[in-house]
Each structure stands twice: as C-alpha cells, then as structure tokens.
C-alpha cells in the first residue's frame, strides 16, 4: 500500500518536472525560434494573422538585406579576431595571477587578494571617466613624456585599451576569473608540485608543464565566459572604441540604420515617407539573429565541456 503510494507520488512528480522543464525551456527558446521564423518570412507574411511561426512565403531577402547593412562577414571576422585575442590574453594573465595567489606566500599576499575582490565589487562606471582620460593620453608613469617630451599616446578608437586591460588581468570580469583559477589551484594536491621540484623543475616550468595541463576545466570555463562576455559587451567598446568595427556596437545601432536604409532602397530618400515599422522590426530581428548565430553555433559544440567543466572547476570554494 505504502509502496504503491510512493510510486504514484514519484510518477506524478516526474510528470510535473517534465512540464516545468519543458515550460521553462520554451520560455528560453521562444524568442530565438521567433527570430528564426521572422528571418525567413516575406514582408506580406507580417500581416497574415493565420501564420504561426512557419512562414507561407519563404525568402532569404531579410537575411541578405540585414547582412548587407551589418557588412556581416568582414564585421564577423574582425569581431572574432578581436574577441579571440582578448580571450587568450585574459586567460593567460588571470591563470598566472590565480596560481600566484593560490600557491605563494609573499608580503601582503592576503591584502592583495582582498584587492582582487575589491575590483569585482567596485562598479566599472566609477572608473569610467579616469579610464577614458587615461587612454586618451596613455602614458605609463610619465615614461613617454620623459623620453620623447611629447604628450601620451591617444589610444581611443584603437583596440589597445581592451588588449592592455585583458593582458594585465584587469579587463571585463577579470576579478571573477582570478577567483575561479585560485579556487581551482588551491584544490590541487601540493605533492605534485613538490615532486616536480625535486625532479629539478623550476617554478615556471612546473606551472607550464604540470599545473596548466591539469587546469583544463577552469580554463574552458574562463575562456568561454571571456569569449561570450567580450563578444556581447557594449560597455568597453562604446567607451573606448566607439568607431571600431565590432558586432556589439553595430547591433546596438541596427534599428536606426535600418530606418535610414529602407526608404533609400525604395528610392524615397529625402521624402517624408518613413519605413514601414513592421518591416524595420523584421530586419532588426534578422540582424540580431545574425549577430548571435556564431555564439549559438559555438555553444552547440562546447556546451558539453562547459557544463562539465564548471562542475569540476570548484567555483564552489
């Protein structure tokens, strides 16, 4: 009796669980599915109320036009290169710092690690203006003006601000990455390093040959987070690199651009006639889909490692 009751409860719970999970998954996937459906719709399909999701008139026009406005493939190549370099620099510098904080005692090491936490806590907007002025006339401790007598170099609208912050582990969410690496290295057995030391490997060699190959899980986590957040970030690019070719900047300005371009295509430029707002929305949706497509494709390939690696990373502490 008790057993059948338990079985019933289990069965009910598993049905309820499926309903919940499918429901939440639907809420997450719905906007993406809507965009995919919109991307292939013809203009006339917008006004057909009987259409749900699957368009009647298939067309590639939206994708063609949106990728033209975005200048898609050159833009994507440029963005991917930029994001890749930032990701590599961030991973290297934060891994070094994480290892340094996890395994070495030096004067003030505790206070310095507290400073890492501070960099996570202080909002980036607080440092916005000094950073901006700093990169407008970039000059490390006045060295450049000392040797050449000139003002510092203007690094605005180059990729240098992001490269410098990434390479020195102070870029986007770098504090969090240092924390992740530190937690992981702390959890590794000390004996491995001691064995390496006795075998005659120096500290740097031990790190590269022994510790890094073992640190694949946190590295995947940090690389993926860094890649995705840099790809999506609008804060740093719009502050320091507003004139450069990056996907996030282009996507943010997409609606106004499309509003301008549609009348031009219809040969109505300069008149009072405005673009059909529904058509604009359609193209904006297509543009957004194009922008996030590389991320979704990347995610399809790495999601398995990602979920597993986060579990083994020791974010838990």
């Amino acid at each position: 009796m008790q057993r059948t009751k338990n079985k019933l409860i289990d069965a009910l719970w598993s049905i309820f669980r499926y309903v919940l999970i499918i429901g939440i998954s639907f809420v997450i996937l719905y906007p993406i599915l809507m965009k995919i459906s919109t991307a292939f719709k013809d203009k006339t399909d917008i006004y057909n109320p009987t259409i749900y999701m699957i368009p009647v008139h298939f067309t590639m026009d939206n994708i063609k036009l949106a990728s033209e406005v975005l200048n898609y493939f050159p833009l994507l190549g440029n963005t991917l290169l930029y994001v890749f370099v930032v990701m590599v620099l961030t991973t290297v510098s934060t891994a070094l710092a994480g290892y340094g904080f996890a395994r070495f005692e030096f004067p003030g090491s505790k206070i310095l690690f507290a400073m890492v936490i501070l960099t996570i806590l202080v909002p980036t907007s607080t440092l916005m203006v000094p950073m901006y002025l700093h990169f407008r006339s970039f000059d490390v401790l006045g060295l450049i003006s000392l040797f050449t007598g000139k003002e510092g170099v203007n690094l605005l609208n180059t990729y240098w601000p992001s490269m410098i912050t990434a390479g020195t582990a102070t870029g986007l969410k770098a504090g969090l990455f240092i924390y992740i690496f530190r937690q992981f290295f702390k959890g590794m057995p000390k004996e491995i390093e001691e064995a390496a030391l006795i075998d005659g490997a120096g500290g740097i060699k031990t790190f590269i040959r022994i510790m890094l190959p073992n640190a694949i899980p946190p590295m995947i986590t940090v690389m993926l987070f860094s890649f995705v957040w840099t790809y999506n970030d609008t804060f740093y690019p719009s502050l320091f690199m507003s004139e450069t070719n990056l996907m996030s900047l282009k996507v943010a300005s997409l609606p106004s651009q499309i509003n301008l371009i549609i009348p031009q295509l219809l040969g109505l430029a300069g008149t009072d006639i405005k673009a059909d707002p529904n058509h604009v929305a359609m193209l904006v949706d297509t543009g957004i889909l194009l922008a996030i497509a590389p991320l979704i494709i990347l995610y399809l390939f790495v999601q398995r490692y990602f979920v597993e690696s986060v579990e083994r990373t020791g974010v838990v502490g």
């Binding site: 030096f106 907007s125 440092l127 203006v129 000094p130 006339s137 904006v284 579990e311």
Partner: protein, 299 residues
C-alpha cells in the same frame, strides 16, 4: 634565479610576485590610479583644456548637487535599488529551484541543462536594446509594446489574482507573485550563472547523506530542507553578491552616470554620482552579507 644566496622562502615569494606581476601592474595603473583620480574628480570641477584637463577643488559641491539639486538622480538611484530588491530574491529562488531540478536524474537532462544555460551565452545589452527598439517600432511606443508583449503571452493574470486571493494570500504578496510571473523571461535570462554556481554546489553534496536520510525515512521534502539547503547555503551569499553587482551594471543609474560625463561633459558631477552609487552598493552588500552569513551553515 639560481641560488644567489636567497633562502627558499624568499625565492618562493619572489616567484609568487612574478606570477601575479601582470595583474599587479594592471591593478596599480588601471584600477588604483583611476580610483584615486575618480575620488579627486568627485571633489573638483573638471574642465578639458588643450592637451589635458584642469581641476578646481570644490570639496563636497558635486555630491550636494547630485543629491539635492539634480532633478533625477535621487529618483533613479532609489528606483535602481528597489528594482534590485525585487529582483534578487526572485532570481535566487528561481536559480536554486532550477539547479535542484537539473540535478535530478531524468531523461534528457543534458539537453535541459544546455537550454537552461543558453541565457548565459545570449545575455547582451546590445541585443536587448536592439530588441526593445524593434518591438517599439512594431507597436508604436514603449508602454504599448509592453502591454502587447503581455497580452501576446496568452496568459490571463486576473485568473491568477483571483486564485491567490481565494487562497487567502495578502494583496502585497499577490502583487509580487503576479509581477514575478509576468517577468519570468527576464528572471530566467539573468539567472544563468547563478544556476551554474548552485549546480556546482549541489554536485559536491555527498550522495551518502541522502542515502542515510532515505533509510531513516526522510521524505524528499525533508531531505531538501535538512540536507540540500544547508549544504548550498554558503553559495547563497556568493550568488546574492553576484546578482546585486550584476543587476547594477545594467541598471539605469549607470546610464545616468555615463550621460552626465560624456553628454553634459560634467565629469566631476558624474564621478560623485558614481561614488554615491558605489557607497550605496557597498552598504547594501555589507547589510546583506551580515544577515546571510549569520544564517549560513559552514562545515
């Protein structure tokens, strides 16, 4: 670094400094110096002159202006804080719930996990703002867009309000829950990282504990509150802090600080605004941290 009369401990500490040196350089030049400068800016009148800028010390004038003269600052700051106060519990509850759900064994679990973390990948300010613009274009204006968004979700809120009222729920709670259901997409969208953290915590709970509890006759409900919850409670603090910081980076206050600096060119005022905001965030985190760490179970 061969011997050179250094003791092993000295050598180790030098090596440690070597490892953190890239960060240390970056921290001093790109964090500490800007931070000190920002404090100076907040107490000065900054004007751009050819080849640099000039500072005129004005003590607390900028702070006074932000708090008592500026027409919008107080309102936007309180709005941001209130929004956060509403969102943080919802996000925490939802992410703990999802993590527990995703940690159970069922068919299609890896697919469900992949979908639940998709928002981490797609959370983007640029996409969100373009999306809003797209929808606004479609409908005509922002409030109409919101209403249309609600009605298109095919969900009748009145039915739920009635139901909760029947059940004797106080009106405030009803409001809160209905509001949460209406914004389910936003909440799901901003809980990806939190789900990951809770899931990692759940994985580290030894399964033997559950087995013992089961043998003693504990129900699933009991073992959740007696085992799961205490074991993940240290991570609640981590998640609260992460959520608070995360919710502030996308809040309207950041936008206000940005426009004050780069559109009205009032750098001093902007700096003091951002410091007021930093102080508010700091105090909030201290209060939350104090209350939560009292309840947390450490083993």
């Amino acid at each position: 670094m061969k011997g050179m009369g250094l003791t092993l401990t000295r050598k180790r500490s030098l090596l440690g400094l070597f490892f953190i040196s890239p960060w240390l350089v970056g921290f001093i030049i790109l964090f500490l110096m800007p931070m000190i400068q920002s404090i100076r800016f907040s107490m000065s009148d900054l004007s751009i002159v050819p080849g640099g800028y000039e500072l005129k010390f004005t003590a607390w004038n900028n702070f006074r202006e932000a708090l008592f003269i500026d027409a919008n600052y107080n309102r936007i700051l309180t709005e941001s804080v209130l929004q956060m106060a509403v969102n943080v519990p919802l996000i925490l509850f939802f992410s703990l719930f999802s993590a527990v759900l995703l940690n159970q064994k069922f068919r299609g679990r890896s697919l469900a996990r992949a979908i639940f973390f998709l928002p981490v990948i797609l959370a983007s300010g640029a996409v969100a703002s373009a999306e809003a613009a797209g929808l606004i274009n479609l409908i005509g204006n922002a409030t109409a867009a919101e209403e249309a968004g609600l009605s298109s979700s095919q969900f009748n809120t009145m039915a739920m309000v009635d139901l909760l009222a029947e059940a004797g729920m106080p009106l405030v709670m009803t409001d809160y829950i209905v509001d949460a259901v209406m914004r389910i997409y936003d909440i799901i969208r901003s809980s990806g990282v939190q789900i990951l953290i809770f899931l990692a915590a759940l994985q580290s709970v030894p399964t033997t504990m559950y087995e013992v509890a089961k043998m003693e006759g504990a129900t699933g409900y009991e073992s959740f509150w007696k085992i799961t919850f205490p074991m993940v409670s240290p991570l609640i603090l981590t998640n609260v802090i992460y959520t608070v910081i995360d919710s502030f980076t996308t809040s309207p206050i950041t936008q206000t600080i940005y426009t004050t600096a780069f559109q009205t060119q009032n750098f001093g005022l902007s700096a003091s605004m951002s410091w007021l905001y930093t102080i508010v965030v700091g105090i909030l985190l201290l209060i939350i941290g104090f209350f939560i760490s009292k309840k947390v179970h450490y083993n």
